[in-house]
Amino acid sequence: MITNEKVWRPDNLHDAWILSSKLSDQCCFVSGGTWLRTQWEAGTKEMAPHLISLDKVPEVKEDISLKGQLGQEEVVIGASTTLAEMITNPTLNEKAPVLVKACKNIAGPSIRNQGTIGGNILSCVGDAIPALIVLNAKLMWFNGDELVYQSIEEWLLNQDEVRDILVSIHIPTDKSKGEHYEFAFYTKVGRRESFIPSLVTVAGTGCYRKGEGIFSHVSLSVGGGNVVPIRLPNTEVKIINNEYSSELLYNVLRQVQQDYKPIDDAFGSAAYKRKVAGNLIVSELYRIGGSNHALE
């Protein structure tokens, strides 16, 4: 049993930031706390002498809402929104179903009642991240002076040590994709049906013009295990403005396996994970385009 003598419970963002500045590396922010407690008990992370709970900070508890003008709307999600709240939210189900699907695939119902989207992101390996990447999500941080935006993709490339407070997640909903069929997919592969860490997770969004068989606006992401999820821009290039064909599928399969660099672990080799990632993305493209085009 690991306990800590001080839990600070500031009631606003400024106070939380001042506390973290003063306590420096002796503190840690806590929201749901599920990921942190797991690490403390497993001995992979030491419990900080001071915990700063964000449960009374209204800014991070903002309800999921649609904001902005028509054509430039975005879904705003407070960082301490639980995964369960995200799954049942009507706005999110309408505007970002791929993210809802991702949340449904994280842990079990009881963890989702407590664990938050902010915590999932800050773990850097959370299963919601691939979905957020393909949705071009932005993170809003409080740095002590002001609120600043950063794309999740950019943050993942430079996330060494977080000092700022993650306030909210912003998902643009205007993609200007016209009337074409939009697709979104999210697939997680683990070692059993549910409540299992991911071996490989893929997510994708885009458009497919059925008449012409052409893909556009494609975004792809892959992650899983202890690997920080990445976007696959080189693979996207192989697909965008190209016609569905068996050659395209083979090109995509090869490119994913070149771009994705997972690591070996006790449950799966890097080569296996690369192959699974490639097969998952190709199977989704086949599902989207294969019904209109018999493979030659």
């Binding site: 049993m1 003063k22 706390g33 599920t34 407690r37 709970s53 009881s110 009642n113 409540f195």
Partner: protein
């Protein structure tokens, strides 16, 4: 706002008191803020029906309801219970058996019984949320509960019976 104000408004005593409802009874307890709920229940409050298993939220043996929702008490800290409504398996200790408990007995859905309180609490959480959940919804609701005696056949029969009404 000043840094001084921050310190004064946020500082806590070494062992603060927390008030919450426990099985319908207002309960006040003085403890470290980060102490786990499962330890409070079993050690301080003498309610050992909530079990300790994996201690990392994987097995569901420690399942309780917090504000009606299934929660892993091994992952919940004392301060997170403040003002909340906490229900444990002991809260079902009425004059007659709860229908879920009765079905577990009738279907032989337990061997050692260690996982059973957690299974029951997970199902009770779902039944609070939905009056008539489907079999699939019930199966999903206990996806965070593990039975090491491989008693899933009996547990599955409980879900079938419950879904049939």
């Amino acid at each position: 706002m000043s840094g001084t104000k921050t310190e004064l408004s946020s500082v806590e005593t070494r062992h603060p008191s927390f008030v919450f409802s426990l099985n319908g009874v207002e309960t006040k307890i003085q403890t470290a803020s980060s102490r786990r709920l499962v330890d409070l229940l079993r050690t301080d409050l003498d309610l050992p029906g909530t079990k300790i298993g994996c201690e990392i939220g994987r097995c569901g043996a420690c399942m309780v309801l917090i504000d009606g929702k299934p929660s892993n008490s091994c992952l919940t800290m004392a301060y997170q219970c403040e003002g909340k409504d906490v229900e444990t398996i002991e809260g079902m200790n009425g004059e007659s058996l709860d229908p879920v408990q009765k079905l577990f007995l009738e279907e032989g859905a337990l061997q050692c019984g260690y996982c059973t309180p957690g299974m029951v609490m997970s199902l009770k959480g779902l039944l609070k949320e939905k009056e008539k959940p489907t079999y699939e919804e019930m199966k999903e609701s206990i996806s965070g509960n593990i039975c090491r005696c491989t008693g899933y056949g009996g547990i599955n029969r409980v879900l079938r019976k419950l879904s049939e009404g």
